[in-house]
Symmetry: C2
Subunit: 421 residues, 2 copies
């Protein structure tokens, strides 16, 4: 378990996203309880029948009863925010907001209290406090709400000295063609769920509640495969058709790469950083590359994502292997080779989504989490900027960095360790 880790009486956890079914819920199971191992992010999920299911907080006469993938919840409360270690849901909307002039620490505390309350409610499948469409909250579908801070939050709160040293825009890279419209932001809301209706509704509730304090600066929507459409445990394919994420880190096995274990100023323990890069893909140009060229660009086979030196997706690439002419089997400039350094600390958690905003406007929402942007993300990004065959078809058009405060424990609001400090 790597994200929100405690569970209230009714919310599920990441290891048991459907929650612990009680006798009354089990009573609705049709034809006996059936378990679909790993159907949702490696977790055991109780498979319900078609009978209406009276979830707490759902009007008992509601016609829109959530089905099994709809009822799954992720715990909100815990030492770490959800939506980071959580197995990626099918849909993600990222909204950057800018603070209204005059928003001070007191106002930020009020906003955090509101967002904390609404995030907890919505993630449990209950309406937000001032939810004008409460019925749309009845399908949590593993909803997670993750809140993060840009530099302006620290300035507005009079706490600039407590901002992490890495909290600033990434330095410019040669490959960048950044657009203001997709860059920066004072606050980040990351809203993910396995149902797009759930994401849309939660974003609206949260953005509305913030109105007095902050206005949307940009909004980016990403998607992966719908729940139940791809075999559990399958590595996602991005819009270029590549198996994407094979070499990702496991935040449960290497938590120090993601989470601040401790922090000089104290407040960031259990927090992390998020980098959001919008990377446009030139799919028309990519079309002109044959399969051998595509595989050489990445260093992996298209069919199954295996490294060109291996047989299976998760085989360790042999970067020293040479072909018959003495060149590396994995090209010297292949993405796989260039994205790795010899330093095991220069790794981070990737949680990307595809975007498709119409013909010619397709790409990747490249979202990464790391304990320290400067130590982990930047060295890799510098290497890729310097040399990466993939750069011919990918262009970063947006970039933003945020600090992710720790999770809210019982009775706490998000960011309390910072804002009340």
């Amino acid at each position: 378990m790597t994200g929100g880790s405690t569970s209230s009486g009714r919310a599920g956890t990441e290891d048991d996203p459907a929650g612990a079914p009680g006798p009354s819920r089990r009573g609705f199971l049709r034809g006996g309880a059936t378990f679909l191992g790993g159907a949702l992010g490696g977790a055991a999920v109780t498979l319900g029948g078609t009978a209406a299911w009276g979830a707490a907080g759902t009007p008992s006469d509601a016609v829109q009863a959530p089905d099994q993938a709809g009822r799954a919840t992720v715990a909100f409360r815990g030492p770490r925010q959800p939506g980071v270690g959580t197995t990626p849901q099918a849909f993600a909307t990222l909204v950057a907001l800018d603070l209204a002039p005059g928003t001070d620490r007191e106002a930020l505390v009020r906003l955090m209290r509101v967002w904390t309350d609404d995030a907890e409610r919505l993630m449990a499948g209950r309406p937000g406090l001032a939810d004008s469409e409460p019925e749309l909250a009845a399908v949590p579908a593993r909803l997670t709400v993750t809140v993060a801070y840009g530099p302006a939050v620290f300035a507005a709160a009079g706490l600039a000295a407590r901002a992490p040293s890495w909290l600033r825009p990434l330095p410019p890279f040669g490959v960048d063609r950044l657009e203001e419209a997709w860059s920066g932001g004072d606050l980040l809301l990351q809203v993910c769920a396995d149902d797009p209706v759930t994401v849309s509704h939660a974003v609206r509730v949260l953005v509305k509640q913030a109105r007095t304090f902050a206005r949307p600066r940009w909004l980016q929507r990403g998607f992966r495969n719908s729940p139940g459409t791809v075999a559990p445990g399958t590595t996602w394919r991005n819009p270029m058709g590549q198996v994407d994420g094979t070499g990702n880190i496991d935040p449960a096995a290497e938590p120090h790469l993601v989470w601040h274990q401790d922090d000089a100023s104290g407040w960031l323990a259990g927090g992390t950083s998020v980098v959001v890069r919008r990377i446009a893909m030139d799919l028309d140009g990519w079309d002109e590359v044959d399969r051998a060229g595509r595989e050489n660009t990445i260093g992996r086979r298209l069919s199954d994502g295996a490294p060109l030196t291996g047989d299976h997706e998760h085989d360790e690439p042999d970067l020293a292997a040479k072909g018959p002419h003495g060149f590396g089997v994995i090209d010297a400039a292949a993405h796989l080779r260039r994205s790795r350094t010899g330093d095991p600390g220069e790794r981070f958690l990737r949680r990307p989504y595809g975007y498709d905003d119409g013909p010619g406007d397709t790409g990747l929402l490249f979202v990464t989490y790391q304990a320290d942007v400067d130590r982990q993300f930047l060295p890799v990004q510098r290497r890729l900027d310097e040399l990466d065959l993939l750069n011919a078809w990918t262009t970063p058009v947006g970039s933003a960095v945020f600090a992710v405060p720790p999770g809210a424990g019982p009775g706490e609001y998000l960011g309390q360790a910072l804002l009340a400090g």
Copy 2:
């Protein structure tokens, strides 16, 4: 069964979207075959395990094996096109294209042959003929491709005399605030599936293949709940939170309302018409309306969609019922009352999706099918334009009308009865 009705050896049908699993496929089922009644649009679906599944056309070593909701297919070949009577999938992208100058009947036939071939392949979970990302085709997820013609197709083919009399822009309505960017078009591609990756990939393949002949004019993306998140048979809720679609027609029970049974010119038998209206919702204004006001606006309860005169969603509304003060229980200007006429022929099949293109840009892709636009759609639209409480919060910003040619039988291409005539 109301859409594509025949099945090739490997494609499923609407009543059995997973196809008929043969012994080899069954061999992969883990823990015995489990049936999830009605999980996908009222059909029995075979629930597979996590083992890799070697679909025809899928590389056997592909890591991205489709899971149960992913393998379901809808038959392409048949007297009627799929995607009309098909139980709505979770995602829809509608693309209107304009013909390139000089596109004549011969060019249209070539385009139809290409689209027919690719639609059949993609709907079966196989790559398009010139598919540059074949792995992205491996998850059909009930993909349907539906092709329709604007007036320009008939003109370009020298067949203007054979265009249906109703094939023209809708007359202007008082409520309209139409934008050119969302209106009109020479050709329509409607691509629907339960997986957004599948829709995105199919749209790209089909639009690319049409490049020589036509260019996108507008593209609209809509969504409903993801597969498996909402109990089967549940009526969808639109972004205003209303149960939307309760009084819809059943095209299997009343096929004459949807399909041309016969046609003076012959070619449209088995075809229909599609009206695409983009209806913006003023959700901020709607927020100011309390629940009683909202229920009065529609004439139905928000909680379960029951008419204000009834107890259950599907109870027949009593339009004559009076309240204690002598007014109708269902308001004289309620949407439910105004959208009904006394004429049973003035009904049509609605297949709407929600859209959410960011804060303040949310609404409905109102897609309807009817045998005759003038006879069925227009009288209702005129009534609603004249008086409908809902008009205060909804504004049509796009409008287009297309003729949907019949389905392609074995060996035929789409539109053959017209273009080869």
